[in-house]
C-alpha cells in the first residue's frame, strides 16, 4: 500500500542516532525472520519496540485511544514494509520515522494543517512563552525530575510539543522535521525555541508550587 506523504525508504541518518538507538540483542535475527513472514519474530519485534512506539504516539497525540490506534497502525505498516529495511540506519530510528509519518498523516486527515505551524497550531497569547528581559532569580534549580518534565511536555501546545518531541526527545534534525511537517527549517528552529521557553516557564511554576507545598507542610 502506498500512502501519500509516507517515506518508506531509508534516508541517511545522523551518526548520533545510531548512538542513541543502539542495536538490541536478537533484533537483527528477528528482523530477518519477520521479513520472511515469521509471526513469532514479528511478535518479538513488537515486544521490543511497543513501549517506545506507543510513548512516541502518546506524546505526539496526547490521547490514549488515538495513541493505541496509531501504535496498531504502525506495527501493521511495519509488517508490510519491513522488507524494505536495509539496515542503513538503526531499526528503531526507521520504525520511529515510519510511526511519525503515520501520526502526521492521521493529523492531516483530521484537518490539522501542518504546512504552517505558525499559522495553524500556533498557541494563543496566553499559551505563548513570555519573553525574559531583565527579570532576576529566574534560573531553574537544576533538579527537574523526569515526571515533572513529562508533565510539562504533555501540557505544551500541540505545535510546540510536536517539534520538541521530534527534535529533543527523538533526535531528528531540523531539516528532517521541516520535511515531515512541511515547514521551513527556520520555522522548526523557532517552534523548538518557543517550546523550550514554555517548558522553562512551566517547570519554574512547578518548582515554585513544590517549594510552597514544602513550606506549608513544615508549618
Amino acid at each position: 500500500m502506498e500512502v501519500q506523504g509516507l517515506q518508506m525508504t531509508e534516508t541517511k541518518t545522523a551518526p548520533g542516532l545510531f548512538k542513541r538507538n543502539p542495536p538490541i540483542a536478537g533484533e537483527a535475527e528477528a528482523i530477518e525472520r519477520a521479513k520472511a513472514g515469521d509471526a513469532e519474530a514479528f511478535s518479538k519485534l513488537y515486544a521490543l519496540h511497543k513501549r517506545r512506539v506507543y510513548t512516541l504516539c502518546l506524546r505526539m497525540l496526547g490521547n490514549v485511544s488515538e495513541a493505541e490506534d496509531m501504535t496498531q497502525e504502525a506495527f501493521l505498516h511495519l509488517f508490510r514494509k519491513i522488507g524494505s529495511f536495509r539496515g542503513e540506519s538503526a531499526f528503531s530510528t526507521w520504525l520511529h520515522r515510519l510511526t511519525v509519518n503515520l501520526v502526521l498523516m492521521h493529523l492531516r486527515k483530521k484537518g490539522l494543517q501542518l504546512v504552517s505551524l505558525e499559522e495553524t497550531i500556533n498557541p494563543s497569547e496566553e499559551d505563548s512563552p513570555k519573553r525574559d528581559f531583565g527579570s532576576r532569580d529566574t534560573q531553574l534549580a537544576g533538579s527537574v525530575d523526569r515526571v515533572a518534565l513529562e508533565r510539562a511536555v504533555a501540557s505544551l501546545p500541540p505545535g510546540y510539543r510536536m517539534v520538541f518531541v521530534l527534535h529533543d526527545v527523538e533526535g531528528f534534525e531540523h531539516n528532517e522535521i521541516a520535511v515531515m511537517l512541511e515547514c521551513s527549517t527556520g520555522n522548526s528552529k523557532s517552534q523548538l525555541h518557543k517550546a523550550r521557553l514554555k517548558l522553562r516557564e512551566l517547570l519554574r511554576q512547578s518548582e515554585s508550587t513544590a517549594q510552597t507545598d514544602l513550606k506549608e507542610a513544615a508549618l
Binding site: Q72, L76, L192
Partner: protein
C-alpha cells in the same frame, strides 16, 4: 578633536535572545563564535541563566527517550487480527 567610538553598541537582551534559535541549532553555548554574543553573555546574568536553563531542558529531554508508557493488551490482539488477513503472514502457534 572628536574621537569616534569604533566599538559597536552593546547588544540588548532582545537582540541576544533573537539569536537563540539559531545558536542552539548550531550546538548551544559552546558554539558561540560571535564576540558580541559572548560579550553579552559575560555581562548579562539574566541571559546567562536563560541559556543555561534552555541547555538543561534540551539535555534532560534525552532521558524521555526511554519509554514510560505501555499499550494495553488489546493493541496486540488487534494487530494479530490485522495480520491474520495479510497473505504473507505465517501465524504463530502460541498466543503472545
Amino acid at each position: 578633536m572628536i574621537l569616534k567610538n569604533s566599538s559597536p553598541a552593546p547588544m540588548s537582551c532582545a537582540e541576544f535572545q533573537e539569536q537563540l534559535p539559531d545558536l542552539f541549532a548550531a550546538g548551544g553555548r559552546s558554539s558561540i563564535d560571535d564576540p558580541s554574543l559572548s560579550q553579552h553573555l559575560e555581562t548579562c546574568e539574566n541571559c546567562t541563566a536563560l541559556v543555561r536553563d534552555l541547555q538543561y531542558i534540551a539535555d534532560q529531554a534525552k532521558q524521555l527517550l526511554q519509554p514510560t508508557h505501555e499499550p494495553s493488551d488489546s493493541v496486540w490482539k488487534k494487530i494479530q487480527e490485522g495480520l491474520a488477513s495479510e497473505p504473507s503472514y505465517a501465524a504463530e502457534p502460541n498466543e503472545k
